[in-house]
Amino acid sequence: MRLARIVKSNSHVEYVAQVDRPGEVDVAPEPGDYAFGTFVAVPRPAGDSAVGVVFDATLVNPEFGALGPRLTTSTELQTLAPDQLPETATLIGVLLLGSRSAAGEVTQGVVAHALSVGDAVHRLDDAEFEAFHGSDDGLRAAYLPLLLAHGHPLTSELALAITQRLVEAFPAHAGAVAVLRDSIAWRTRIEAAG
């Protein structure tokens, strides 16, 4: 399912995407589709995809603060000028965690190639999420150190959300993931508060 398009980058691994609005695509995504911790893929012309996770969301509203006198109300404006699109937007932050080749081979960690403005952002379904984390050893989340080192205030919570989802998706490896999750939780919640 398509969610958004890349509009900006803050670094080699951190991108900003604008969520598709009604009228721009056949089926516009609901807020639940691009929730915090949602895994996404950004296909590239070569056939491979960058894989990332939604770690932030920002609302853009040009009318915020425009409190001066107006000739018409916004409801009248839709009647008088129906082709004028609303200028509000939802921006999501996407942190790249790895890549997936056209053959389905997964690489976790820093992605070699940068994305381009306009690249479409798709949501990964559960099967794709599991395929991205599956390995010969059963489970791999080698991007977690990169994620935790990112420095965004929400990355620890993001890591906790991801590890919790991994516990549920990979019950056979729940023990190892739980150790990691509990370690992160202790550091980010207990030690941070202590």
Binding site: R140, A141, L144, L180
Partner: protein, 561 residues
């Protein structure tokens, strides 16, 4: 110098001038405390393999504690989950004491410069190590094979003691109870009785633990080229010591052992001994001594108020009571005429076990003192030509005497008949071929001068901190770092240090050829056997006796109404 694969890298100088630090992952757990490693260095223009011994090990890089939260999940699994797949993630730093390169003529020669950082370090190959550690190679005459290097697989690196060295500059075997000291002593005696050595060995055995060495005489390992080792186990009832061969100090010690000697009693005894001619080497009998006691005349001095008989009659009576209870006992080991021959006890190729169990400690000390004094005098006299071949004290060959429970014979802070004698032997014995091996489980209670003069030390597990401190104070050659291993040693593992080896080593004691006699008794089995020999309980009597129906508590405290 070595084609061995490197196991680590030198980091730099250590805290002391003769140590360096080594960094290694040690994935195979090869770099144990006491292990020997080497690096190649150019010394005086020649490439040398510089050996060192690992004394300490510290982790540099370990998994976070939090990774060990679940005992079912190894930390490596958690690390692998986040992409850390290194087979050897841990890293350790080791303190290595530099021994130096080994020179056949000079032994270890310290290059006196720490290795540069980044030098590859390898494990010293077994053969090189066997050559460097032991002064005499295993199998050569004069090499006492006591075991193998603990840090290598069993028998890969044999450890031998130089018999010439410890049989002249003395030996100490120190261990806590049950750590295997009498077992190791048995191994050393076995080596001394090999055809290539054929020593004259005497064992002072206060607990009767060494009787099993009798098997040496029947074991094929102790025969060859016309030689056959002999063993003589002398039991308490077989020991006889002629009274007139005792030293006055032995007699004072023995007579005063039960209730002490008062000043007047001691004086009467001194005069009586002088009267029988003890200071002139005259022969005397017990009866002559008692008569001399009665005949002693004292002039002046304190006299008891109730000394009605005069001449210190009470003093003499008390002294006689003490003499009769010790020196004059008819069933004792002291005799007017019989004396166990020194030449019968001490012969090359013979191991004599003098069993002193069931003998009071004071008598043990006097027996040991008499035996040591006469044999030492015999060796000195023979060496100086004063004692001829026909005389009883003629001892033409060096003597090695093992003394079990040595802290009873040279206790710290107390003087017993053997103390000064042992000090004299330790100081002068080397010149005359007379050496002792002291065995003790309480080094803290052993005279420190005595312990420190034993130039070869075999130290087994010691847990008592006071004893550890005593060892550290007296044994200079064993590094303090290795001595820290003492409580961690297992049964049959020993630190061997001193003059009979080229450097301090951790040794796994070899199995005995003869049975071991000092094993802990099976108490439970003894109880079971004793129960089975009790007469059956008559249950009909129990039924008739209402008392028997009550519990032991009820019999003691009565029934609660």
């Amino acid at each position: 110098m070595s084609g061995a694969a490197p196991v680590g890298t030198t980091k730099g100088p250590g805290e002391t001038p003769h140590t360096y630090t080594l960094v290694a992952p040690d994935a195979d757990d090869q770099l144990k405390i006491g292990e020997f490693v080497a690096y190649d260095a150019r010394v005086d223009g020649e490439l040398r393999s510089v050996l060192g011994r690992i004394d300490a090990r510290r982790p540099l890089k370990l998994y976070p504690d939090a990774f060990m939260a679940d005992p079912h999940v190894p930390p490596s699994r958690v690390a692998g989950l986040i992409g850390f797949d290194h087979a050897t993630p841990e890293l350790y730093e080791f303190d290595v004491a530099v021994l130096g390169y080994f020179d056949d003529a000079l032994g270890f020669v310290n290059p006196r410069v720490a290795p540069r950082a980044g030098r590859p370090v390898y494990l010293v190959p077994d053969d090189d190590l066997a050559h460097a550690l032991s002064r005499i190679p295993h199998g050569r005459p004069g090499a006492a094979h006591v075991g193998s290097l603990l840090t290598r697989a069993r028998d890969r690196v044999p450890i031998t003691l130089d018999v010439n060295e410890f049989a002249s500059t003395h030996l100490a075997i120190i261990a806590g109870t049950g750590a295997g000291k009498s077992y190791l002593a048995g191994v050393i005696v076995e080596e001394l009785m090999q055809p290539s050595v054929g020593a004259a060995v005497v064992i002072v055995d206060p607990h009767g633990e060494y009787g099993t060495l009798e098997e040496i005489a029947n074991h094929p390992g102790f025969r060859g080229n016309g030689y056959r080792a002999r063993t003589l186990v002398v039991r308490p009832e077989q020991i006889k010591i002629r009274r007139d061969l005792l030293h006055p100090s032995d007699i004072y010690q023995l007579v005063g052992s039960t209730h002490g000697l008062s000043g007047p009693q001691r004086e009467v005894l001194r005069l009586a001994l002088r009267a029988v001619g003890i200071d002139r080497g005259r022969r005397w009998t017990y009866r002559q001594l008692t008569e001399a006691v009665n005949d002693v005349e004292l002039s002046g001095g304190p006299r008891s108020a109730d000394d009605e008989g005069g001449d210190y009659a009470l003093v003499k009576r008390a002294l006689m009571w003490r003499l009769n209870a010790t020196l004059g006992r008819q069933d004792g080991i002291f005799d007017d005429y019989e004396h166990t021959s020194l030449q019968e006890l001490i012969r090359p190729g013979q191991c004599t076990v003098v069993q002193l169990n069931e003998v009071p400690r004071e008598e043990q000390q006097v027996i040991a003192a008499t035996l040591l004094r006469r044999s030492f005098d015999g060796r000195v006299g023979t060496a100086k030509g004063r004692i001829g071949s026909g005389e009883e004290q003629h001892l033409p060959a060096p003597v090695f005497t093992l003394i079990e429970e040595a802290h009873h014979f040279a206790p710290a802070g107390e003087e017993v008949p053997t103390t000064n004698l042992l000090k004299q032997i330790l100081a002068e014995g080397r010149k005359f071929g007379f050496a002792v091996g002291l065995i003790s489980q309480r080094p803290g209670k052993l005279d420190q001068d005595v312990l420190s003069q034993c130039m070869t030390q075999c130290i087994l597990r010691v847990v008592n901190p006071g004893d550890q401190q005593a060892i550290a104070g007296a044994v200079e050659s064993a590094g303090r770092e290795l001595l820290a291993e003492l409580p961690a040693l297992s049964k049959g593992q020993a630190i061997v240090a001193g003059a009979a080896v080229n450097t301090t080593v951790l040794c796994r004691v070899r199995p005995r050829l003869t049975p071991h006699g000092g094993e802990s008794p099976d108490v439970v089995d003894a109880w079971r056997r004793a129960r089975s020999q009790l007469p059956p309980v008559d249950r009909s009597l129990e039924a008739a006796d209402p008392e028997s129906a009550r519990t032991p508590e009820e019999r003691l405290f009565g029934s609660i109404q």
